[in-house]
């Protein structure tokens, strides 16, 4: 049996929650005050996800373009996603909402521009 202690991020309470795992399956969550904590804890210990935002240089523009993953991606894929973004060679003009990196690192999630340059 494995125990993991995590901090809830849903509100300023910041409950310290203990999650018990057996063979990668959540057995119990304790320390949470509300249901949202339970849901977050189960997701966070089994399949944590994060939004990734960054800026990428653009040929033909003095300003880089800001980008985001369209949806959260697995946390473990963040370094590979950043490496792929740093390897991009973008050309102006780019419009907000344009895909700059399709299917980031095989996550199935596109990286899109969040402003126009």
């Amino acid at each position: 049996m494995e125990e993991r202690v995590i901090t809830c991020i849903n509100c300023p309470m910041g409950c310290r929650m203990t999650v018990c795992l057996e063979n990668g399956e959540v057995v119990s969550v304790s320390g949470n005050t509300c249901k949202r904590g339970d849901t977050y804890a189960r997701q966070e210990v089994t399949a944590p996800v994060r939004m990734v935002t960054a800026v990428v240089p653009v040929q033909g523009s003095l300003m880089p373009v800001s980008v985001k993953t369209r949806e959260p991606i697995p946390k473990k894929d963040i370094p590979a996603c950043m490496a792929a973004l740093h390897g991009l060679h973008l050309q102006a003009p780019i419009k907000a909402g344009d895909t700059v990196l399709p299917d980031a690192c095989g996550s199935g999630v596109d990286v899109i521009a969040t402003k126009s340059v």
């Binding site: 995590i6 901090t7 809830c8 991020i9 509100c11 300023p12 309470m13 910041g14 005050t33 994060r50 939004m51 990734v52 935002t53 960054a54 800026v55 240089p57 300003m63 880089p64 800001s66 985001k68 946390k75 963040i78 950043m82 907000a96 969040t114 402003k115």
Partner: protein
């Protein structure tokens, strides 16, 4: 010199100024101008490329540029006149706004009403009194954010962050993702003022240690920063001898508080509150100078842009009412901070108008209520599991609740 009459002049084209302009135009003010010193509208949102904006207003988590783009698109649709690259030099008590730009030179606007929407600025190194040399490499977190996100420049490679406000936490992650090594985040207080979400996703995700009850006591370097000394502090925030740790680094980022930017307001004779560092206003967000309104972070530092927009819509509508001669008449009642409450805005109100009271709790209160009282009676109450100084409380109050009230209104915390 060019003198122009305008019904309404809005100073600042960030989220506050844009929302105020949109609301004023929708309320019928045709002749208005927004003055913005940067090259484009959007304010600080332009450099806040992370997501999390707009959850209250739109029910989705936008990035800063996306949130700003929606207001800018609306402003364009309404045909608002936004003058960028235009710096306001002074505002005086009879509502004359002096500004300068490369294209139009020096201009004076004679305004029927003014909305102050200049936002806030970061506390700089000079406000801390930290000993050390005057080397390069010490930046406020927001300045570094501008370099990285707007100009594509990296301020340094080995970073220590002083202060654990949200901007500092966000920059810890940004610098890390862009290839820098963030050695530590150092916080004077025994708790962080940042969101739990940012502590988890910006520090813990990248194994960046957070030193609570610690501070930077020395800044060393000849040309460029070479090292900082970090010490633990006691309950009175004094460094404890023997706890020195030296971090070799080339960059120190400061995230040590925000101050409303009120130099223009002061020159106009606007009365300021020592608690909020912003203007003293009534429920229409009008300052002590008739026809001059204030909204957004120049009035009091907000946590969420959604609330800035909401407040600024109200300021825009109030300015429109004022211009039409429809401002609330009659006397105002004073709103006072009671126990556990700091800096209620507005500080006075017309009892026949709906109002939203906003303030920061003075400490952490669990299982507590905010209570609004007047004439010895309870007017309103809001319960929550937790109130903290890091989260502004907004308490709407209907006019009918205040009917017949004649004395001061007090807002206080009550622990069950």
């Amino acid at each position: 010199m060019n003198t122009i009459r305008k019904e309404l002049v809005i100073i600042g084209g960030g989220p506050a100024g844009l929302a105020a302009g949109i609301a004023a135009r929708e309320a019928g003010v045709e002749d208005l101008v927004i003055l913005e010193r940067e090259h484009e509208a959007g304010g600080i949102l332009r450099q806040c490329i992370h997501n999390g904006f707009g959850l209250h207003r739109y029910g989705e988590e936008l990035t800063g540029p996306e949130y700003a783009a929606r207001d800018i698109a609306k402003a364009e649709e309404l045909g608002l006149d936004i003058r960028c690259d235009t710096t306001v030099l002074s505002v005086d008590g009879d509502r004359r706004v002096t500004c300068v730009s490369r294209t139009d030179g020096l201009q004076i606007y004679e305004a029927g009403a003014i909305i102050l929407a200049m936002g806030c600025r970061e506390r700089p190194r000079g406000a801390l009194g930290t000993p050390g040399t005057r080397c390069a490499g010490v930046y406020t977190a927001g300045a570094a954010q501008k370099f990285v996100n707007l100009e594509g420049l990296m301020p340094g490679k080995r970073v220590v962050i002083l202060g654990s406000g949200d901007i500092g936490l966000i920059m810890a992650r940004r610098m890390t993702l862009q290839g820098a090594k963030v050695l530590a985040c150092v916080e004077l207080m025994p708790y962080s003022s940042g969101l739990n979400r940012n502590i988890v996703q910006c520090l813990q995700d990248y194994d960046i240690p957070l030193y609570l009850s610690h501070t930077v006591t020395d800044i060393r370097g000849r040309e460029r920063l070479e090292a900082v000394t970090v010490m633990e502090v006691d309950a009175k925030r004094r460094p404890i001898p023997g706890t020195e740790q030296v971090f070799e680094c080339d960059t120190l980022l400061l995230s040590v508080g925000l101050i409303p930017e009120n130099e223009l307001s002061q020159r106009a004779g606007v009365e300021l509150s020592p608690l909020t560092s912003g203007a003293v206003v009534d429920d229409t967000l009008q300052t002590s100078v008739p026809g001059v309104f204030a909204c957004g972070n120049v009035l009091h530092v907000h946590d969420l842009v959604d609330f800035v927009s909401d407040e600024s819509f109200r300021a825009g509508r109030a300015a429109a009412d004022y211009l039409k001669g429809q401002a609330p008449k009659g006397g105002t009642l004073a709103v006072r901070d009671g126990e556990g409450v700091r800096g209620v805005v507005p500080q006075k109100l017309h009892p026949d108008q709906d109002v939203t009271l906003m303030f920061r709790p003075a400490g952490v209160y669990k299982n507590a209520s905010v209570v609004v009282e007047a004439d010895g009676k309870e007017m309103a109450r809001k319960r929550a599991m937790i109130f903290t100084p890091g989260e502004m409380v907004a308490l709407p109050l209907k006019a009918e609740k205040l009917a017949g009230v004649t004395g001061d209104i007090t807002v206080r915390m009550e622990v069950r």
